[in-house]
Symmetry: D2
């Protein structure tokens, strides 16, 4: 059971070659590339076999062309995410909008995303509802927002039960507070919806930002049958910095790798970084190199040895093992 | 439904007159008073009608004497909390300890707490499992800790179904990470236990520390039928400072008051402060004065007016109303 | 000395009517208005008598036209800020760039800003060096960055000693770490430059984000003769949310008002908000209303009463006074 | 210049064998050992050659006995810290107390500490003024606190100019806000005092807690001639967790090691951990093992290689070098 994950499958998102900017540089640190060029470049990154697409932005040229581009590049589509932040109409929310017309638009857009995913041979869509939440006190009726959101996701998940719907939680940004902010909140949403094809994307940087222990959240999602997808990046814990994996943390990522093996996760690891100033390919390749290094490290230490270490409450022996295996 | 809460019922805990110290001053900023003296003093604080006790520490003199002291002082016992941090044996957890003997001790101690609560005429106990969690990566098996904890609370809740078991969540401290860290995690625990008498204590300072919006958490707990108890204090959002309510925040506490009325909360509001350096009675009285002021403010603005403001997404009108009602 | 500030002078920045966006919505929540229209609208906000401009963005139509627009609108120019983030060439810093050509460009741009300020009759420029800092460990030589930055500001400040150069510190964003991150760091920079016309802009939201007490930082800047300018906004302490003043905090803003009077601050209070989704004029007007309310509150309580309260270490009496004056 | 530090000198503090407790377990997770026993045990920890003492707590048996114990154990005394938190009389501050009698007591106690350090052959004392600061708004006059503090340290530093006075900054705890909270604030204090024997202890965990980059703070302290002492521990950035070095972070500690070499730091590295639940010797030994591992890693990568990497703004090459050297 606790054998080496047969093969680590890495993907990354088309946004790494987009117009990456911030609120002070809306024109971007670099110009976004055309989607076919993004696909080609991503295919060229060492270690990548999957691509994460965004609907509708990546599909302007038509679904067939996108399918062709992805296939020609020798990539699999890991997931298609629906874009619920890139239009000002979502500024007060999508599925939880007080406006039924906007909720309808959000649901229809997501159903199209489901179709796009199916056409690309992907078995899942990603929902990151960045605008659903609030900024100020007294801005929303929390119970109402929750119910509206839940009903929309239920409808979406019903349309093609074979497609997995992944809800990506995040503590905040762009709203000061998100509706689905933690792994636990996402689990409650899934359980209330009560459908087998509704689960969770854990973005490990969001997990750090939310003050979670990544492995504890993975364990919670796994135990409740809701771990559908994994996004990888690193940060300083106070914000979603979307940095190279391993640029800040080590031991918790070793633990993450161990935990993913324990639960026999055998699906995509998607490098979700935001290379504002760096070369996107280098950022992704370095992150993949780090994960492969973690994987080899867990092998070197041995799953059984780690299992045994967890039978005691003392953390020092594991720290020593990791230190010896990395610093000699 | 949205009428003024018929009467606000305030309690506070015996620990305010305890040996309040910190890790650098273990002997305390002041000497703890004997329990009967604590009871007497708490009864003398303006606005207080309830007292929160700790088992076993407050019961050294015998249950009967405690019952007498509380009754003589004209107080009701709002809740009895079980002490799961005050003995080094709990250092690696109580209900989630890897040691079955310790788990048994924790359960038995809590059952005694249930009996004490019943004897005091209180319908509830409080469980704050401060030592259940971890400090380091690779220290616990997260799924195992969760299950062990759940099983213990199930057993406790079964022994007297008429007594409410309140789980108080907290992000961290004394452990670097707590097992039950957020309102959502507490809801999941309650739902897995699946008993009507298991619910949640929201300490609003813990909610701020966890990065939650207090009212959103109250709404979640209420909607799932798990809001059993409320602890009041304030902080700077980075730590459980246990300060006078209102010393830092205002608008979110107005929203809290509004939300408590909306859900028709009609139970204890327990001032849970930690007056390291200040006069305990003054800290509690000032906090109660603040809540009564909030209550009057909500009256002044009017529940209907607030309801109407929530139909729009614009937060400015409510901010203006609050400003005009407070700053003129 | 501690009389009412003779008149509170409020300004706001042209960016409130700009293309306000974020990294997920680079096209903005609304379209930016032409500069003359921004000037006109700002002049129409109740309580505003000053305008904060950005160079070069606000000066595309030529300096004379801007001067005309500001004068015609009956506004004073409070300060002109130099834009050191709005071009990707600054991505690794401006004055602290490793590239001497870029540093030269940054200095020349700032000198033009000084000229623009003079032409507008403003006695000061604002420098917010958002790109000077770093994201990753091992990215810059910290001592070298500091020296390069210092030398550039020295040169700028020398060109017109009658114009005040205000350095605005910020903990982070857009870089993960800023070079001038706290009030204390800004003071050291000023002292090393050693010129009387180099001082500091305190953005009170940046102060909250940096974990400072706002009044303590104002006292530090005042005591060292470096308090040149004040930016007003509010946030949840974890990020520069640029919210309506008073939407989160109260007591610390009362203290800020008291402190500004004590040090006899008699200059601009510039409302620096970022109305992503709200009406810019409403956000600014509400913030001004809040400050005027604070001002009246300090009058109601009385400077002498507050002074007296500070002679003791007990914070409760002041909290009671504020509570009674706001909540009755 | 950039050669290997000739020898790394490790110390640790006597408090690791003290009654380590927290506010919920004032009696401690374990009983403190007698001082002579602490000295003996510390001498037995692999890699330790120095001991950090606390005055007056460690000197109850008389100065001569302590000197004997330290000498007999073959240890050097790295520094003697004055205890300004362990008595409730300091609850509102020591050097910045509003009470002149208390300030006098604090100064005299510190002068005795200077004498104790001299007798032990140590050239320095450590001042960590944990109670100097505030909890609530409107609690202190910030400018007055600063001046009172400064005057006391000036007097202390004047009494034996040959003894270095190290001020240890910390963001907060036990007060909600400390007077000397960041490296920059400590530098300003030193510069205002203006004496060569007044400098700073950087506790790298305090630096993380304050949101600093450790190496940037070391560079600041070194450049201003104020880096006197180094305390080592790790944490999750939100609190002073005092954990095993390397249990959370890696890359920033590699950078710290590189920076210490660059500035030719050749003094004590004191492991300042708080082993609430763990074996103190194991915690210290593991931390030392980690630092020695970092030291060897910097050798393996090479100072010149790192220097060269810093000439560019791209962080990826250094991350790759570290990854390859640790994960293969």
């Amino acid at each position: 059971m606790e054998e080496k994950m047969s093969e680590l499958k890495f993907a990354t998102g088309t946004w790494i070659y987009g117009t990456v900017g911030d609120r002070y540089l809306l024109s971007g640190y670099r110009e976004g590339l055309p989607v076919p060029e993004r696909v080609k470049r991503i295919a060229g990154i060492k270690g990548i076999s999957g691509i994460e697409m965004i609907y509708p932005a990546d599909f302007d040229s038509g679904l067939d062309e996108v399918v062709d581009a992805v296939n020609s590049a020798g990539l699999e589509c890991s997931v298609v995410g629906v874009d619920l932040t890139g239009d000002p109409k979502w500024k007060y929310g999508s599925y939880s909008s007080k406006d039924p017309k906007l909720r309808r638009e959000a649901v229809e857009l997501t159903k199209e995303t489901v179709d796009a995913a199916a056409a690309l041979g992907s078995e899942r869509i990603n929902i990151w509802p960045g605008e659903d939440g609030h900024d100020y006190p007294f801005q929303v009726d929390y119970a109402e927002s929750w119910t509206l959101f839940r009903n929309c996701v239920s409808e979406i998940a019903s349309c093609r039960p074979g497609v997995k719907v992944c809800i990506e939680y995040k503590l905040r940004e762009p709203r000061a507070r998100s509706l689905i902010d933690t792994a636990a909140k996402a689990v409650i949403m899934c359980q209330e919806i009560g459908m087998e094809n509704v689960g969770v994307t854990i973005d490990v940087g969001h997990s750090l930002q939310a003050g979670e222990n990544i492995s504890e959240s993975i364990a919670l999602l796994s135990r409740t049958g809701r771990l559908f997808h994994v996004h990888l990046n690193d940060n300083y814990r106070g914000w979603d910095d979307d940095m190279v994996l391993g640029s800040v943390h080590l031991v918790e990522f070793v633990e993450m790798m161990y935990t993913l093996r324990k639960i026999e996760y055998a699906d995509w690891l998607s490098v979700d970084v935001y290379p504002y100033r760096e070369d996107p390919a280098a950022v992704v390749a370095e992150s993949i190199g780090f994960v492969n290094g973690l994987d080899a490290l867990v092998d070197r230490i041995g799953m059984d040895t780690i299992d045994a270490a967890l039978h005691d409450d003392d953390p020092i022996p594991m720290l020593s093992l990791i230190r010896e295996a990395t610093l000699g």
